[in-house]
Symmetry: C2
Subunit: 413 residues, 2 copies
């Protein structure tokens, strides 16, 4: 039985090396647009249509030939004959001739011959005629064909995570199916103490809760988790489970079996098949979190303790998935506030401190939550933020202004 | 045909009144934990178990009786006899007697009689004995039963949106099913110019892209969209579609038919059946966005123009859903940066300006995107942020520091 890690690898160094060894790309699959939300594009999208597909009115009023309005003035209005109307989806059938105008609603296609729209407010209607009081330029209140997106334009790059408005643009372009990366993530739990939720927890047994946390984090980032169950705490069983999982998954995420000093069967099993591995990192909580690359694919070995596993997921699993799909990390909500109590952390270790962020009298305060161990999952539920203390600091003083990652809304007190 | 809105209602006033009229709560349904991610709890969750369910080792080492270590010192160590071992899920069978110790791994249940764990590093092992060099207090390196969550404790409130770690806490507590709000959102498109994606777009027709944007925004906030198709631009047809939708949906979101000055059949249809409605708001883009309350349920009438619809969704639909489920808005990623160009906006109107946020030489810059109309959906794709200019400002000057809502990562230049 090992007696603890000799030296812990710096987080950034471990992650950089880990990512540089990943050679795998998840498979690209075609899905209907309505199933593409939150997934990562597997190829660039180039517009095959103009959007809008035709010149159209950008305001309600009258479609005219701008040349007809030359010289118009309050004293000497130009008189145009009303010859019809157009609405969205109801184009004017004919061509506009000199001296003619039609009534037009926003979004309606401009008739052939017309090149400007004059809003109601700027003309006077006289039965079947309108009076125009000033000249209007070409394309006045006209949305030009292709002004939103021009045919041939690169509109979204491979690796983009699809948000609702991206789906709107793709639909506008007539794209009914998109090619996205299908990130198949195997989730494997180890630990003789674990029972599944719903099973009877006998003496000394605990419910496997980490799987739900890890599946949830994978789903939130657009990967597809596949829970493979609880594997016994034995090197051979773990080796078989991981190597089988890697056959048809793009990443394997395990929990347990990497404990500091305790049995580390997971790490031993994976390290033997890996081209690269790191055992433990200088992070708190979560120093047992480990990672490896096996056949170009990432294997992330998380602590069996849920909060430590959350930290290890953020450190290793999230960047690994982003790297495989060529995506950038998404921005996270942050807030600055004043620390209500001193927080002391070890030097050369990155510390993820759970905090409660609240507002009082117009100011924002950050209260560190008292914790005794990395098993304290409820701190993530009771708190609403995480304060990351970098390696080069031994903490922060009471009253320091700190920046916190917000997990939930700021509490109002 | 109306000639534009006479006066536009202030956004905050319209929203406050709208929310105050909503009386409906979506139905609560029980789902397995694995389907609860991102949904809103319909009832408080009180712990029915202690977590951890037993006293357990918080470190690898030896379980002892703390009283045995009284008076121990470097010169006068206490000698304890090793009588067994315990690991996670492998409890020590017997009871610890005076003068005894067992080897214990992190997470293993403390045997009866033991009340402390001494890490390997702090003792010397001498074959079947250990030497202890200093007294340890009760519960030294012990995770106490219930220290994470105590039975009877309120752990999550109704209205909480379930994140991955919440699922972990619920699993730890043995909660296999949760009661969540099922927010059934009807999405109805109107507009004679619209065709469905995949259909042939004839002359003057455009693809219905807004539905994908609205469905996506509903999904992202944990509601369940139900797209009911394109309804003709006729008051009777729209009235029937909306009133039918409200029978088995909690909110109806429409697009089109609220155009400024143009045909506003949607608003007319809904206003007639509503106990309250507002026609248009002082927001840009999106002044046609309207809302109503029908039988206590929210009806949000969005502009047919996608970007205006996005703004209207943020203003009306999102707060309406949050109100119905009793949830607080989630924090959004924001960033401060320097404006690269003056931006001019009308007074008494709230403006949502699409911007590109980039970093250069260590500083953050915010570049307003040139736009000519609210139809310009691609600005949300090309840009990565939204600058909200409040009603009491006529814009910002070049060089002003502004705060922007970030939709995607900051661009590196």
């Amino acid at each position: 039985m090992s007696r603890g890690f000799k030296s812990l690898t710096n987080v950034d160094a471990a992650v950089a090396e880990f990512l540089s060894r990943i050679r795998h790309r998840p498979p690209a699959v075609e899905v209907p647009l309505s199933e593409a939300l939150g997934r990562y594009l597997a190829e660039d999208v180039v517009a095959e249509l103009d959007v809008p597909p035709f010149d159209r009115a950008a305001f309600d009023g009258y479609a005219v030939k701008s040349a007809d309005t030359l010289g118009a003035s309050r004293n000497n209005p130009v008189i145009l004959r009303l010859v019809g109307s157009a609405g969205p989806g109801r184009p004017y059938g004919g061509r506009l001739n000199d001296g003619e105008a039609i009534e037009i609603a926003t979004g309606a296609p401009l008739p052939e011959g017309a090149d400007a729209v004059i809003p109601y407010e700027e003309v006077a209607e006289r039965g079947s005629y309108i009076e125009v009081y000033r000249p209007v330029p070409r394309f006045y209140y006209v949305s030009r064909r292709g002004e939103d997106v021009a045919r041939g334009e690169l509109i979204l790059r491979a690796g983009a995570r699809l948000r609702p408005w991206d789906l709107g643009v793709l639909a506008s372009l007539g794209v009914a199916k998109v090619s996205i990366y299908d990130v198949r993530a195997a989730v494997i739990s180890t630990g003789d103490e674990l029972v599944e939720l719903g099973q009877e927890a006998g003496p000394g047994k605990i419910i496997n809760s980490s799987r739900f946390v890890i599946e949830g984090m994978l789903r939130e980032m657009g990967a597809r988790p596949d829970y493979l169950g609880i594997v016994p705490d034995e090197e051979a069983a773990i080796a078989e489970a991981v190597s089988k999982a890697l056959r048809d998954h793009d990443i394997a995420v395990t929990t347990g079996g990497v404990s500091v000093g305790g049995p580390d069967h997971t790490f031993s099993a994976v390290a033997k098949m890996a081209e690269w591995s790191v055992h433990g990192i200088a992070v708190r909580p979560g120093r047992p979190n480990s990672a490896a690359v096996v056949g170009g694919k990432p294997v992330v070995m998380l602590s069996g303790f849920p909060v430590a596993a959350v930290v290890g997921f953020e450190v290793f699993a999230k960047p690994a998935v982003l790297k495989m799909v060529g995506a950038k990390p998404e921005p996270t909500p942050k807030i600055r506030g004043r620390l209500t109590r001193r927080i002391t952390t070890p030097i050369n270790v990155r510390t993820y401190a759970r905090v409660r962020v609240y507002s009082k009298g117009g100011a924002i305060y950050v209260e560190p939550l008292a914790v005794t161990g990395s098993g304290i999952l409820s701190t993530l539920v009771r708190g609403n933020g995480v304060l990351i203390v970098p390696e080069n600091r031994e903490g922060f003083d009471e009253g320091d202004e700190v920046e916190v990652e917000l997990l939930r809304a700021v509490e109002e007190t």
